[in-house]
Symmetry: C2
Subunit: 134 residues, 2 copies
DNA sequence: TTTATTTACTACCTAAAAGTAAGTTATGCA
DNA sequence: TGCATAACTTACTTTTAGGTAGTAAATAAA
């Protein structure tokens, strides 16, 4: 990224004054309300690798139930973040792909991924201590 | 950011092969399990503005209940992402500040913030349609 | 016609998250 | 001691997330 663009980008957050209110009129609260949950972010991250079938996702996103997978895909479809293509085959084949809107999340999600890698030891220690419970 | 660093950073995600499994041994699943929820991310984003008191956060993070605020702050304290300083005054004053670990989230959170601003119209349309319900 | 296979949906249930409201602690000073 | 106030906690209730199991659609091949 060019230094110029970087400066512009960080400035959004720095432009907030200390009395900025984060309500539903604030776009960051809106976006967190829509996508800030574990399964949604994991599925989006997985789809960044490319087109996937339902069964691929079921294999890759360990721990997700078939119901949550279908439900989350349906929501992302409704949001326009993924597209769905059905192949008239037997057995049926359905493929999910990120739309341009979905792909726009590559940067924030990569950023989170990098952060996780950088702080891996610390994060694992916390996770063990809390056993995933907050 | 220098182009070199940028390349290194994006490569974490690109280095995954298409059969990578996202289970609890995968660091991205661990980090999402710990912090991927609306209130946690909103409080962290707010604290990126600097030190805040409980009552400041209550005023800025619209919609959060006092219980959720206390609870989330307690969790972040346990994670070592924020520090807590009590001033022996009347009435009591307690200030919360991001630790170095907490500050390390500036980049991913800024990235999300920028994304939200870039897609503001689309996000608001979705939010209205769904009324925040998934 | 029956079978096989993937996807998706529904109904029912349990567990966890989160809201409400009331009460408690901590604090320094009068 | 009593007070005033911010910060915090607890008990209770409601809401939402999530799991399991069963079923249906699709259709080519047996």
């Amino acid at each position: 990224m060019e230094a110029e663009k970087k400066i512009k980008k960080i400035s959004y957050l720095e432009s907030l004054n200390s009395r900025t209110v984060f309500d539903e009129n604030c776009i960051i609260q809106v976006s967190f309300a829509l996508i800030a949950d574990k399964w949604t972010l994991l599925i989006l991250t997985t789809l960044m690798q490319g087109t996937k079938r339902n069964s691929d996702l079921q294999k890759q996103v360990i721990g997700i139930s078939p119901k949550m997978l279908s439900q989350t895909l349906k929501t992302l479809l409704k949001y326009g973040m993924i597209s769905r293509k059905v192949y008239p085959e037997v057995p049926p084949r359905v493929e999910y792909t990120l739309t341009e809107f979905g792909k726009s999340l590559v940067e924030p999600l990569s950023s989170f991924y990098n952060w996780s890698v950088d702080w891996e030891d610390k994060l694992r220690t916390i996770y063990k201590k809390t056993k995933g419970k907050k």
